[in-house]
């Protein structure tokens, strides 16, 4: 072989090995994750309904909202990751936990478990995020008390938190002439951003989809076989998975009986 053939071969080998091991291999493996059915032990130790799966499906305009989340670049300021203790203190941040003080103000701060691959099941691309210019959204679904506040925050962030640097997503909303009593959906805005007299601001389709997607952000479901106390999930029963008659998913999941039903019915986001 000529010397430059060795050179090319060297380049291919040097890069080919990490390419296979770090990228192609794990990617191929992770495309075939399946939901895990909860076992007997889980039904005893926690509020897990029978015949349910981990993670349960997500209902709502998930795919459409996921797309808005991508288009508006939300992931550049918000992560969806709770790091384990050795890598950070995310598990005890106010509001990042399932139901911290941000939820009711009465309960003591709780902790939340770290995120794991199955929490993102069915997502084309998990928006783990780049930076935390804004708070983590891994469990944001818990923090939504009422959608009206979320819409108001998206439309005029400074009216909810004066210190917020979030962009005002006014283009996702519609300013229209008020009809009679006005719409139930109309945002309750303060002077500065209030529409002119006789007009109202209502969420557009994209805003509705985005909030619907945000509602489904929950990455604290009880892990099958973990024996976790229910407290980390806030003591609320998990939504039960809807059994579907589809064929059995391939690959036996670890630590449980082979799945009898199909994966949860929640539509995986597919923008």
């Amino acid at each position: 072989m000529k010397p430059h053939r060795y050179f090319t071969l060297g380049l291919v080998l040097a890069f080919g090995l990490p390419w296979l091991v770090m990228v192609v291999g794990p990617h191929a493996a992770m495309r075939h994750l399946e939901p895990i059915p909860y076992g007997e032990a889980d039904f005893e130790s926690a509020f897990v309904p029978e015949n349910s799966y981990f993670p349960p499906g997500r209902a709502g305009l998930v795919a459409q909202g996921y797309r808005v989340y991508a288009q508006e670049g939300c992931a550049y300021c918000h992560t969806q990751v709770i790091r384990p203790t050795y890598a950070g203190r995310d598990r005890w941040r106010e509001g990042w936990t399932g139901r911290g003080p941000g939820w009711s103000g009465e309960e003591p701060p709780t902790e939340v478990r770290e995120t794991m691959p199955l929490d993102y099941l069915g997502e084309r691309y998990a928006f783990l995020g780049v930076q935390r210019i804004g708070p983590d959204l891994a469990n944001y679904g818990w923090r939504i008390k009422d959608e009206a506040t979320v819409h108001r925050q998206l439309y005029d962030p400074r009216s909810v938190h004066s210190w917020s640097v979030m962009p005002a997503f006014q283009h996702l909303y519609e300013v229209r002439r008020r009809d009679g009593q006005g719409s139930d959906e109309a945002l309750k805005l303060e002077a500065k951003h209030a529409p002119p007299e006789g007009y109202e601001v209502v969420p557009g389709d994209k805003a509705k989809a985005l909030v619907s997607y945000l509602r489904t952000l929950r990455k604290d479901y009880i892990r099958p076989g973990s024996g976790e106390p229910a407290s980390s999930a806030g003591g609320e029963p998990l939504p039960s998975a809807v059994p579907a008659p589809a064929g059995a998913p391939g690959g036996a999941p670890p630590g449980g009986a082979p799945p009898a039903g199909a994966p949860p019915a929640g539509a995986p986001p597919a923008p």
Partner: protein, 491 residues
């Protein structure tokens, strides 16, 4: 010194060799100037976008609430415009010229190359516009809508393919270290880009692995494209200007192969603690720390090559920019390695520090070396010299000051942000407020960068229109002969 060396060399050269070199320069002139000027336009545009994005983080109502100006759109628009508009075009321009020179072969297929270059620019324009109009993917550094990647891949393959064609047509026996680096970058990038896009767009659905592939792509662009092109260029420029061969060729080769072996493993360390199999970020972090070895090899080599000639950075614009970039390369690798440590990484992860490190890689290191290359190459293509050493000094100091300010402010903002976010049972307000002042500083840094590049763009336009100085003496930062004789030194 630069001109003296060149003059001495010229005397020794035969007439035929001089003619051959002129032919080579003529053959690459059009494409190289095309890439440089278009790249600089993108650099100006992207710094303007980056300035607005930076303002938005401490002054969110700056320029109003227009949808296309929201941070989530304008930030990816600026980073992609910077990467695909400036970094790739400037790198390709310099790579083509250096490759043609070292292979002693004229460039052929100019028409195809220029067509590909035009399509590349159109594709980048469409991509940036699409991000601003809300059609971005939010995959960092791969934000363009999915229909564009085959176009970019194909045009890149054509443009970089010319490097391979030049290499095959080479008329010199020797193969230089710069050629190794440039060939490697030409081969690796299509592979990296194809893999990332196939896995993210054609075979999606791997959830967290999508984010890991993306992180690996970002690391690979830095270490398997920007690093080899920047280092290959510096390995050409530094020995040329000090008029000495590289200190140790063995060391240079060792550094090259270490980077080649380690580079592909790096990237996923930015997701340490993320919901991935823990070995993936762990392996990436280990590889990143081992990158200190090739870094030391490169640093020793540059330092020893410049030994005794360090004062030339006072005079040669090329050497000053290249030396700044070479030092920044060390900073890039050392800071990347430091962030892999859990003790530090738990504070800096997901903060401005990480974008500060990317900025060191693409600006303080890569862009500064490429500025040096442009100062070296353009006069040889247009047969006139840069208008004014003072303008070059302005460009250097504003770039050096602006980029250092951006890096320092991002690191300070990130650390203060990270410390605040490590407080358990606390809300988010503190981390926004402690970092705000530093982010104001970053916006000022971008003003300096924009002004410096505006000056540079004006300067290069004069050169392209042949309005430079007509002189056989290269333009220096300061008049070398006058200063040295004032100090009693013979130039």
């Amino acid at each position: 010194m630069e001109t003296n060396q060149a003059n001495n060399a010229d005397l020794r050269e035969t007439h035929a060799e001089a003619l051959a070199r002129a032919e080579i320069d003529r053959s690459v002139r059009l494409p190289v100037l095309f890439f440089f000027t278009n790249g600089l336009l993108w650099l100006l545009g992207s710094s303007l976008l980056a300035f607005v994005a930076s303002m938005k983080l401490h002054n969110p109502d700056f320029l109003g609430d227009a949808a296309w100006l929201a941070y989530g759109r304008i930030h990816p628009a600026s980073s992609n415009a910077f990467l695909y508009g400036w970094v790739f075009q400037a790198g390709l321009g310099a790579a083509l010229w250096i490759m043609a020179r070292l292979c002693r072969a004229p460039l052929t297929g100019i028409g195809v190359l220029l067509t590909a270059g035009h399509i590349w620019n159109i594709a980048v324009t469409i991509g940036v516009a699409a991000i601003l109009l809300g059609e971005g993917t939010s995959f960092p550094w791969l934000d363009f809508p999915s229909f564009l990647w085959p176009v970019l891949l194909l045009t890149y393959a054509i443009m970089a393919g010319h490097l391979l064609v030049l290499f095959r047509a080479r008329r010199s026996e020797e193969v230089f270290i710069s050629q190794y680096y440039l060939l490697a970058s030409a081969l690796w990038f299509p592979w990296v880009y194809l893999t990332a896009n196939l896995l993210l767009h054609v075979f999606p659905g791997a959830g967290v692995m999508g984010a890991a592939v993306n992180a690996w792509y970002v690391g690979s662009v830095l270490l398997l494209w920007a690093a080899p092109v920047g280092l290959g260029t510096a390995y050409y420029l530094i020995p040329k200007i000090v008029g000495k061969p590289i200190y140790s060729y063995q060391l240079a080769l060792g550094g090259f192969w270490m980077l080649a072996i380690l580079g592909g493993w790096s990237g996923a360390q930015s997701l340490k603690g993320g919901p991935l199999p823990a070995w993936i970020p762990a392996v990436s972090g280990t590889a990143t720390i081992f990158l200190l070895i090739p870094m030391i090899a490169v640093a020793i080599n540059f330092h020893r090559t410049m030994k005794g000639s360090h004062r030339l950075v006072n005079y040669s614009p090329t050497l000053r920019f290249a030396a700044f970039g070479a030092v920044a390369f060390n900073l890039l690798i050392v800071s990347s390695a430091l962030l892999c440590l859990f003790s530090l990484g738990r504070v800096t992860q997901f903060t401005h520090v990480e974008s500060g490190v990317h900025f060191i890689g693409l600006y303080s290191f890569f862009t500064m070396i490429l500025f040096g290359a442009i100062y070296f190459i353009v006069p040889r293509l247009v047969q006139c010299e840069w208008r004014s050493g003072g303008w070059i000094r302005f460009h250097f100091w504003f770039s050096a000051y602006g980029s250092t300010a951006v890096v320092a402010m991002l690191i300070l903002a990130g650390i203060s942000q990270g410390i605040d976010q490590a407080k358990p049972y606390e809300g988010f307000r503190g981390s926004v407020e402690v970092s705000a002042a530093y982010l104001v500083g970053r916006s000022l840094g971008w003003v300096f960068i924009f002004l410096s590049n505006l000056m540079f763009f004006f300067h290069i336009l004069l050169m392209v229109f042949r309005l430079g100085r007509r002189s056989g003496q290269a333009t220096m930062l300061h008049d070398m002969e006058k200063e040295l004789s004032a100090h009693g030194v013979n130039a």
